[in-house]
């Protein structure tokens, strides 16, 4: 939109900007190219469902996907009700300047900044040892739930706040109870926001490794209960890369699967947001 002039400084600046962009684009393309090149040819249904063999050098990632799924289920099953409840409380029952609201919001903001390894320490001390859950899918899921709560609450709260005040006032004027207002007016209107919040939280949880090393453990077998130790996808990549000589090719494919899942998660979040904004613009 601005026309470049031809001074030396101008050319230098342009050169600098394009160099920076090349410097960033190269490793990105290199990384994704590498993952596709080395990971793609092994990717098959068989890889996704079969059991890892010989410490993961051969075989697939079936039980690891199941463990990851269970950890995510535990995480969301705990985080969703707490997150939804807190978001409702924050948006409907507290004003911006109220002490309780500010306290909760502030502590959630701080929690969002805590490094994931610290959550791992906490999970190990609290869930694994104090509550006696040991290295288990349950401990891992609960630790992740603590970690994703802030991001979930913030997104959901924003979507409640975006609902026009008129709707609440009309409901109150009609004498509808608050419970009914929440159930029939606020929740339906905020469903996409809630979904997006959950999906974003899920994405963050799925990418996590450090918080899981000391909580859900390393066992790469098919879990039979939530008290079993289960290996998440990210930990499988870590283990193959660090501790298994000759594990690189399976690590590439597993990384490809993980990134594919994360991509689906993120795309569906942005798809829902987009869909919803266009829906809302239509007269209902």
């Amino acid at each position: 939109m601005l026309s470049p002039s031809n001074t030396i400084g101008e050319t230098g600046a342009t050169l600098m900007v394009w160099t920076a962009v090349t410097l960033i684009a190269t490793p990105f393309l290199w990384l994704s190219g590498d993952l596709l090149w080395y990971g793609w040819h092994q990717l098959s249904i068989n890889f996704v469902v079969s059991v890892p063999q010989n410490a993961g050098r051969e075989g697939g990632i079936g039980p690891i996907l199941v463990s990851t799924g269970l950890i995510m289920t535990v995480c969301m099953a705990v985080a969703m009700p707490i997150g939804l409840g807190t978001a409702l409380f924050l948006s409907e029952y507290t004003q911006n300047d109220q002490v309780s609201g500010r306290l909760i919001r502030g502590s959630l903001d701080v929690l969002a900044g805590v490094p994931s390894i610290v959550f791992g320490l906490f999970g190990n001390a609290f869930f694994c040892q104090l509550l006696g859950l040991g290295f288990s899918i349950l401990s891992g899921g609960l630790t992740l739930a603590c970690m994703v709560l802030p991001i979930l609450i913030r997104t959901v709260e924003e979507s409640f706040r975006a609902i026009a005040q008129d709707q609440r006032l009309s409901a109150a004027a009609l004498g509808i109870s608050q419970r009914a207002t929440i159930q029939h007016i606020l929740l339906p209107a905020a469903i996409p926001g809630v979904l997006v919040g959950c999906i974003l939280g899920l994405g963050r949880a799925m990418a996590e490794t450090a918080a899981l090393i000391f909580t859900s453990g390393y066992v790469d077998r098919m879990p039979t209960s939530l008290m079993d130790s289960g290996r998440a996808l990210s930990i499988h990549i870590y283990d193959l890369a660090m501790n298994v000589a000759g594990g690189n090719s399976n690590a590439y494919t597993t990384a490809l699967v993980l990134i594919g899942l994360l991509l689906i998660i993120n795309l569906s979040a942005s798809w829902i947001t987009k869909k919803w904004t266009t829906l809302n613009q239509l007269p209902s």
Binding site: A55, L70, T73, V74, M76, A77, V78, M80, P81, L84, G85, C128, Q129, G134, F135, L138, R179, I182, Q183, L187, P188, A189, I191, P192, G217, Y218, V219, R221, T224, S225, L226, M227, D228, S229, M242, N243, V244, A245, G246, L279, L282, S284
Partner: protein, 280 residues
């Protein structure tokens, strides 16, 4: 328009209750017997592959039982056993006097060997040379009669019994060691050395022989002119050997006992030999 999206999610209550219900079902559906039939074994990365195999064979004869093995170092095995996080700890060394309150059972023997990349032409190193490499005085392979190339010293992390035995044998202190890479599991060490032609490291002989026979580019060096092999460890000639021990908090009972007895029995000798260890 909103109602269309809401669709199946009928009510507020469903939205809250459903996930909780899922959780409870998942927690309580698998009957509690799954817990009583489970053994958690953690510790030495040298022993983990062996115990994994023994566990599989044990499970084959005891279908209700599940055996979970996790590596992390001998100190972890002992720490987890003391804290009750593991039923059995794996320690690839003898118990120290401070650990006398624990109960140890030897299942096999192993040695510690110096490994190099296969392309490294060096055939032998004296103890003195190894000491000077690890303390940072020798920094190029030329100084010990090899080709020209800077030495990458790979050392074990603290809490690993391999490190403790290595230091003890070479009369070194961890403070004197000048390392370039610090590794955890044996496999990590082998992977590091397989990827770096100028590296030197030390790992379990069993693990090294297993990996070398599976085509990894590493080579074991003799120690004091005694080759690092199954035979020299078996006859006790190899100077750097150690017992592989299963540790329990008190003398083993019930399932723990039957598993340890199984691991000591001749039914698993072939598994021990497959991993290049010496049966008890």
């Amino acid at each position: 328009m909103n109602n269309i999206i809401l669709g199946t999610l009928t009510s507020f209550r469903a939205l809250l209750v459903f996930p909780l219900l899922c959780l409870y079902v998942l927690v309580f559906l698998p009957p509690a017997e799954a817990d009583s039939g489970k053994l958690v074994i953690t510790g030495s990365s040298t022993m983990a592959p062996l115990l994994l195999e023994i566990g599989k064979r044990f499970e084959a004869t005891h279908p209700d039982i599940r055996i979970d093995v996790q590596a992390g170092g001998s100190s972890r095995g002992i720490a987890d056993t003391i804290r009750g996080l593991a039923d059995i700890g794996m320690a690839s060394r003898t118990l120290t006097p401070e650990e006398n309150h624990l109960h140890g059972t030897v299942v096999a023997h192993d040695g510690i060997g110096i490994i190099l990349h296969v392309s490294n032409p060096l055939q032998e190193l004296t103890n003195k040379q190894i000491r000077s490499i690890y303390s940072g005085e020798t920094t190029n392979w030329q100084q010990v009669g090899g080709r020209d190339g800077p030495i990458t010293v790979v050392n074990k992390a603290q809490g690993r019994s391999t490190l403790e035995l290595f230091l003890q044998y070479f009369k070194l202190s961890n403070r004197d060691i000048h390392a370039h890479v610090v590794i955890g599991d044996n496999e990590q060490g082998i992977k590091t050395i397989a990827g770096n032609p100028n590296a030197i490291g030390y790992v379990s002989i069993g693990t090294a022989q297993y990996d070398a026979s599976h085509g990894l580019p590493i080579r074991l060096l003799p120690l004091q002119q005694i080759p690092a092999s199954l035979d020299t460890v078996r006859t006790g000639v190899f100077p750097l050997s150690r017992p592989l021990t299963l540790v329990t908090k008190s003398s083993p009972k019930g399932l723990t006992k039957s598993f340890i007895e199984f691991a000591q029995s001749s039914k698993v000798h072939d598994l021990i030999l497959q991993q290049y260890f010496i049966p008890f």
